[in-house]
């Protein structure tokens, strides 16, 4: 058995449009997902994440390329491939007039489960998402977070080797989001389930993922662990200071540039709203330069309102790779 559970080669999806140029939603994506890892696809809305998941789960036929799930081609052996995957769609894909029990029975039967085995699996997943006591209540009476948990349970019924989760935390409160994220880690750690996760929220991806693929405009622009991605952009810390002066004295500016020569970068902007100055410094191991920076400001008798130190993150990686913020 190979260690790779998902392999995609040259996946491409083009949508023809009546009065416009064809839309390339996914453009020649190659990727491989290891067994037992949480693999995240990160990108802004419209980057092609959902289309990629739809092709990998057999819902959308690729225009070009193919993918295998546990060795089964999603285009040529879709039934065998689908038996090995579960899906948690972005929408709450449940019959909301009916109970979790009814929903799970229905989807369980479509996975070929029946009788006592089906009952046992339903008990198992309801316990996993902590909804055993609400098994007979209509889903429409549930909170957003509870619905999300039933949505996840429906994807786990047949104990899939691979679980696709498409933005599973959209529209829920922080408490339920935390529950969902903990559940995903639990699925990997306790059950060895491989999770293919998509999100546009880098904090979630950063927390969960063993490996991350960044997509933009349908193309995969970076792939690796968080550390590997950060290394790609030079691993810089970012120090942000808010100084209670609308402008900085020219003498201080000269001193700053002399003290922190390239490759350290300094960015100075006026904050009209606060009538203050925002000073940003980008530097490898920037935290070690912080005492000297504060000393210079102190000598110039400038009052510092706030200091923020950010280690390199996915936001910075995305910014460095695309020149845009992730939320643009």
């Amino acid at each position: 058995m190979t260690s790779l559970l998902v392999e995609a080669h040259g996946l491409r999806k083009v949508y023809r449009r009546a009065k416009a140029e064809p839309l390339v939603a996914v453009d020649h994506v190659d990727l491989a997902v290891e067994r037992g890892e949480i693999f995240s696809l990160l990108g802004p809305n419209g980057a092609g994440k959902t289309t990629t998941i739809s092709m990998l789960s057999g819902l959308v036929k690729p225009s070009e390329g193919d993918a295998t799930i546990d060795g089964y081609s999603i285009t040529r052996q879709p039934i065998a491939a689908k038996q090995r995957l579960g899906i948690v769609p972005q929408e709450i894909a449940l019959y909301d007039r009916f109970s979790p029990l009814h929903n799970l029975q229905f989807f369980g039967k479509l996975y070929g489960l029946r009788g006592k085995e089906l009952d046992m699996r339903i008990d198992e997943v309801l316990e996993l998402v902590d909804l055993t006591s609400r098994r007979n209540d209509p889903v429409q009476t549930f909170s957003g977070g509870m619905k999300r948990r039933v949505n996840i349970a429906a994807g786990l019924l047949h104990r899939p080797a691979l679980l696709f989760m498409d933005e599973p935390t959209v529209g829920i409160d922080p408490q339920n989001r935390r529950r969902v994220l903990d559940l995903i880690k639990h699925l990997r750690d306790q059950y060895g389930i491989t999770v293919f996760y998509t999100s546009h929220l880098m904090e979630e991806v950063q927390e969960l993922s063993d490996r991350i693929a960044i997509v933009d405009h349908g193309r995969l622009i970076a792939l690796g662990t968080l550390r590997e991605l950060v290394q790609q952009i030079g691993e810089e810390d970012r120090i942000t200071l808010q100084i209670a002066q609308p402008t900085l004295p020219p003498q201080l500016l000269d001193q700053l540039h002399a003290a922190f020569p390239a490759p350290v970068r300094l960015d100075i902007q006026h904050d009209a709203e606060q009538n203050s100055t925002i000073l940003q410094m980008f530097a490898k191991q920037g935290r070690k330069q912080l005492p000297q920076l504060l000393q210079l400001l102190n000598d110039a008798e400038l009052e510092v309102h706030s200091i923020e130190l950010r280690e390199p993150d996915l936001e910075a990686v995305f910014l460095a790779l695309t020149g845009r913020q992730l939320r643009d």
Partner: protein
């Protein structure tokens, strides 16, 4: 098979566990059909916005002479329908019967029947040759000899034929009432004479002098002198029952809405991600689509079955006696309802495959349902609209309602109806299936 039934049972459970859906599926058509049925159980032509219904009259009646009096009941009957040549426009408008019907008097019975067969006339009223003779017996031999006027109707226009029958019945009722009313007043005199010998003697003398032209015994007879016998095109005696006719019409009409709504739910589920979730399971997408089609067939079958049964109960209650209105060939009736449900679901599947959104599906489905109802002759006589006459053959309602009415009238030769419905359903379903499957893969 297990997965197929899983999807079908889920759909059926969804529909029949929803109170609002049940209200639309069952109570609404039942209420509409009952209301129209009750309305048409009596003469209600004046309340209906219909006019110029083409009717043919054939008067075979031979007038009889009774003393100096000439009795021509057939002629009187036709005059109710056919206005005199010199009738003014105002007179034509003021007369309800003349406004409602466009009656012609024909000499040739075959021509009248042929006109009904090819749709030129909604019905033909054929007055027998002994009509006046039988009626006059009432006055001369004191015996009741009911006469039968044949109503030869076109089963394709049940509503309009019902109006013609209602008018004709009304005329006959007035004629019957006229003779009974006179007899009744004489009857009261007889009752009085039982306690008054002098009055009895005077009455006897008057009778001997021929002052009374009516038979005394008829004063106590509740038997109508004029009866109707309805026949369909194939010549079988048919009993007009508005509950049967409107029950069938409304059941098929509303079933079309149900089929559209059931198939349209696949678009809603697509939007909500439910369809994607089903298709992400190891289930063939073709099986998912087939299951949806069969779900629609099952739901429509149950709906029409329940509606026909309920209409039967209402009709029986109204008539005051239990009777099954939809013929004795129950097996054939079940097959017919299945074929109607199949055809309706086929049409619904092609609408669903072409619509981009559930809202678009609702609008297109609604328009097609109403158009089919119209083409099926539920609202007016399509045969009078030239080109549309051929289009009606594409209507599920036309074939469905006409098959149900034929079965109700004891005419079990509905093979052509079943064949057309099956072909319509199959072709539209295959087309819808292929289009939708292609869209799913896109």
């Amino acid at each position: 098979m297990y997965k197929l039934w899983t999807i079908i049972s889920n759909e059926i459970f969804q529909i029949y566990s929803d109170r609002n859906a049940l209200l639309i599926l069952l109570l609404t058509p039942l209420a509409v059909a009952s209301l129209i049925g009750f309305a048409f159980s009596d003469v209600a032509g004046e309340t209906i916005g219909i006019s110029n219904i083409p009717v043919a009259l054939v008067n075979h009646d031979q007038a009889v002479d009774q003393g100096e009096q000439r009795i021509a009941m057939g002629e009187s009957f036709t005059k109710v329908f056919v206005p005199p040549a010199d009738a003014t426009e105002q007179e034509l408008l003021d007369n309800e019967v003349w406004r409602l019907t466009d009656a012609v008097l024909l000499a040739d019975e075959r021509e009248a029947r042929a006109g009904v067969d090819d749709g030129r006339y909604v019905a033909a009223l054929i007055i027998p040759s002994d009509f006046s003779a039988n009626m006059s017996q009432l006055y001369t031999t004191f015996e009741s000899h009911p006469s039968t006027i044949e109503l030869y109707a076109n089963a394709e226009s049940p509503v309009l034929a019902a109006i013609v029958e209602a008018i004709a019945t009304s005329v006959a009722t007035r004629m019957n009432a006229g003779s009974i009313a006179i007899s009744s007043s004489i009857g009261s005199l007889i009752e009085l004479s039982a306690s008054d010998p002098e009055l009895a003697l005077q009455l006897q003398q008057a009778d001997e002098l021929g002052l009374f032209e009516q038979d005394f015994s008829q004063a106590f007879s509740q038997e109508d002198q004029i009866r109707f016998e309805r026949q369909d095109i194939s010549g079988n005696v048919a009993r007009f029952n508005p509950f049967m006719m409107f029950g069938a019409g409304q059941a098929v009409f509303f079933m079309m809405f149900t089929a559209m709504a059931t198939m349209n739910s696949i678009l809603r589920e697509r939007r909500e991600g439910l369809l994607a979730r089903q298709l992400a399971t190891p289930t063939d997408p073709g099986l998912v689509l087939l299951a949806r089609m069969l779900s629609s067939v099952c739901i429509c079958f149950v709906q029409v079955g329940m509606l026909l049964c309920a209409m039967n109960v209402i009709g029986s209650l109204f008539e005051g006696r239990w009777s099954w209105m939809y013929g004795n060939a129950i097996g054939l009736l079940i097959v017919t309802v299945l074929a109607i449900a199949w055809a309706a679901s086929g049409f619904a599947s092609i609408v669903t495959s072409l619509a981009r959104t559930p809202e678009q599906g609702n609008v297109i489905g609604g328009v097609i349902t109403i158009a089919m109802g119209m083409l099926g002759g539920a609202f007016f006589n399509v045969s009078s609209l030239g080109g549309l006459e051929l289009v009606r053959f594409l209507s599920v309602n036309y074939w469905g309602v006409s098959a149900l009415i034929q079965l109700a009238q004891g005419e079990n030769a509905v093979q052509s109806h079943l064949l057309v419905l099956t072909v319509l359903g199959t072709t539209t379903f295959v087309a819808g299936f292929l289009i939708f499957r292609k869209r799913l893969e896109a």
